[in-house]
Amino acid sequence: MTALTVLATSEQVPTAAEGVFSLIWLLIAFPLAGAVILLLAGRRADSWGHLLGTLTVLSSFIVAAFLFVAEAARGAEDRAIEQTLYQFFAVGGYEVNVGLLLDPLSMAFVLLITGVGTLIHVYSMGYMEHDPRRRRFFGYLNLFVAAMLLLVLANDYLILYVGWEGVGLASYLLIGFWQHKPSAATAAKKAFVVNRVGDLGMSLAIMASFAAVGTSEILAVTGSADRISTGWLTAIGLLLLLAACGKSAQVPLQSWLLDAMEGPTPVSALIHAATMVTAGVYLVVRSGPIFEGAPVAQTAVVVVGAVTLVFGAVIGTAKDDIKKALAASTMSQIGYMMLAAGLGPVGYVFAIFHLLAHGFFKANLFLGSGSVMHAMNDEVDMRVYGALRRVMPWTFVTFTAGYLAILGIPPFAGFWSKDRIIEVAFDTSVAAGLAALLGAGITAFYMTRVMIMTWFGEKRWRDDAHPHESSPVIVGPLVALGLLSLVGGAMELGFLPGGGIEPWLEPAVGYAETEHILPTLAYPAITLVVVLVGGAWAWFVFGRDPIPTTPPAGSALTRAARADLYGDAFNEAVFMRPGQYLTRTLVWLDSKGIDGTVNGVAAGIGGLSARGRRIQTGFVRSYALSMLGGAVVVIAALLLMGGRL
């Protein structure tokens, strides 16, 4: 490890909520009320439901903006505000209060969720215009926003878990929104079941923190990380990592994310790109001191991040479905964030920075793909796209902005964030740095492939496709997110309230600088070279000859990537089949063994009684003989006992 210069540690003392900060609970209350109204109002609300749904999230964003300005006006050490709402329960020494902690980290997330959320709600008003269940869609979206806000604002791990489960529920409802499609219903179930494995880690982590510290309040647990034994810290850290893997679709719990693309595109943009899948990164960063005290857990986070980043990138290269390619990209980018978060205080700020930038450009890319799908009769296969840039100029320009951002071309947002991650990765461990660099190259490759197949080349459209630019209510959010992809890197700079992202997040998560092993400008230079090589290679493979409309038989690696690098096959062979055999064996034991025992006893007694009833012959004389026999026995007994009864 190279030497670190620790600039700040995450020790903030929260103050009570007064003044404008007493409105923190409104952030959650608005979308929650929206969800309740929309889901209970029934068909009367169909005509205005979508407007109410968008309005609630917009109101939350306005409140969040006010809170941000007020928070930034305070000094840097004074930016943590805690608002306790009520006591959840107090049982045997374990007390849990429902409290909201607004500190720089959660403020950043709140702005992302409500801001990007509002844009996606506006987009959905146009995208879901012809869907008869649109009101329910907005109700579920509001429920999601409320649960996600609870997750990031919670000051207690148990309340965070409530939000955690809430977003899992909303994700299930939204992935399976088009219930009539069996594939969608199955995908929703799969997402929920795989998430449940992660939730097991979360609940065990809460129990472990209670056993080690006596409370599950976040600041109390992270504050006592230097007093708990390393064993406990490692256990809690690994369990939190398991939870994060489930929610953020990291290896080994990554199989649900690509199937989750069955949901409507706004869902993919909001939940499976910008917010819910980043909850795992939030959890790791929020629990920073725990990981810092447990090097084994930290290394595990780095390994998971590095593996997933390459894993997702490789899968993305072979997907013909535009949404699945973007989903694999999301998996890979979150790998970057986990990698950075696992590096300790050197990486927390950049993990969150990349999270925010990724929220902008990935939501942009997904919404752009939704616009394309809308124009091509909901077709997702990129092999029947092609040459769309003249027909859909606005979508093309915004999509290109997102593309350049994800590649990391300056001055787009991705350059600033991803570059810093590669920098700290190299400074900490060359292996991690090389993995990140490789990921950047493969990212350039598959994103360029998507661009070429969708926007350039020749038309490969089906006969009934008449693509046209989408309506302003769809294009508006695209433009907004495109601009954010362009200028989002300005967060690094100092002129925002709060003074740039590093000083903003420092008091919340801590920050350390690494010693650079190469000159400072070498990192962006090397990264740009790798990215350009990746992009050029993609043009070389895909850009010169026309794209075939049926997928050609590829190499073994291509076939593996099409099959999600055999993730589903692995899960089936290792977990599903043995599990099925186990349950079948148990069912067999139950029906043959336990039922057999019970039925056997009953049959035995039945047989005995069948034998016994033959005494009832119906003949008077045999009854008389029995009576005589009994009388003889009694008299003999009396005689033998000498008359003593």
Partner: protein
């Protein structure tokens, strides 16, 4: 007289009655054997009353006779009913109360 011989007689009569109840097929003959057993018991009661000098045994004999009479009334009535419906007085034929 020697009371023992009366007891022996009572025992013999009782045994004959018991064997008759078990062996004979005609319901009326079975009844007569039951009466024989009751009379044997009566004899035993009276003999013991004589040997002990009290009159308890003789009072009990009266009770037994009353019971025998009542039993004969009811039993013969039942046998008559069965004979009328089945045209047979054999105990083996009335064997429907079986499983």
């Amino acid at each position: 007289m020697n009371p023992t011989s009366y007891i022996v007689l009572s025992a013999i009569l009782f045994s004959i009655g018991a064997v008759g109840v078990l062996v004979r097929r005609n319901a009326l003959v079975v009844f007569m054997c039951v009466e024989l057993m009751l009379n044997a018991a009566n004899l035993a009661f009276v003999t013991f009353a004589r040997t002990s000098g009290t009159l308890d045994g003789q009072v009990t004999a009266f009770f037994v006779m009353v019971v025998a009479a009542a039993e004969v009334v009811v039993g013969l009535a039942i046998i008559m009913m069965i004979y009328r419906s089945r045209r047979s007085a054999s105990v083996d034929d009335a064997s429907l109360l079986k499983l």
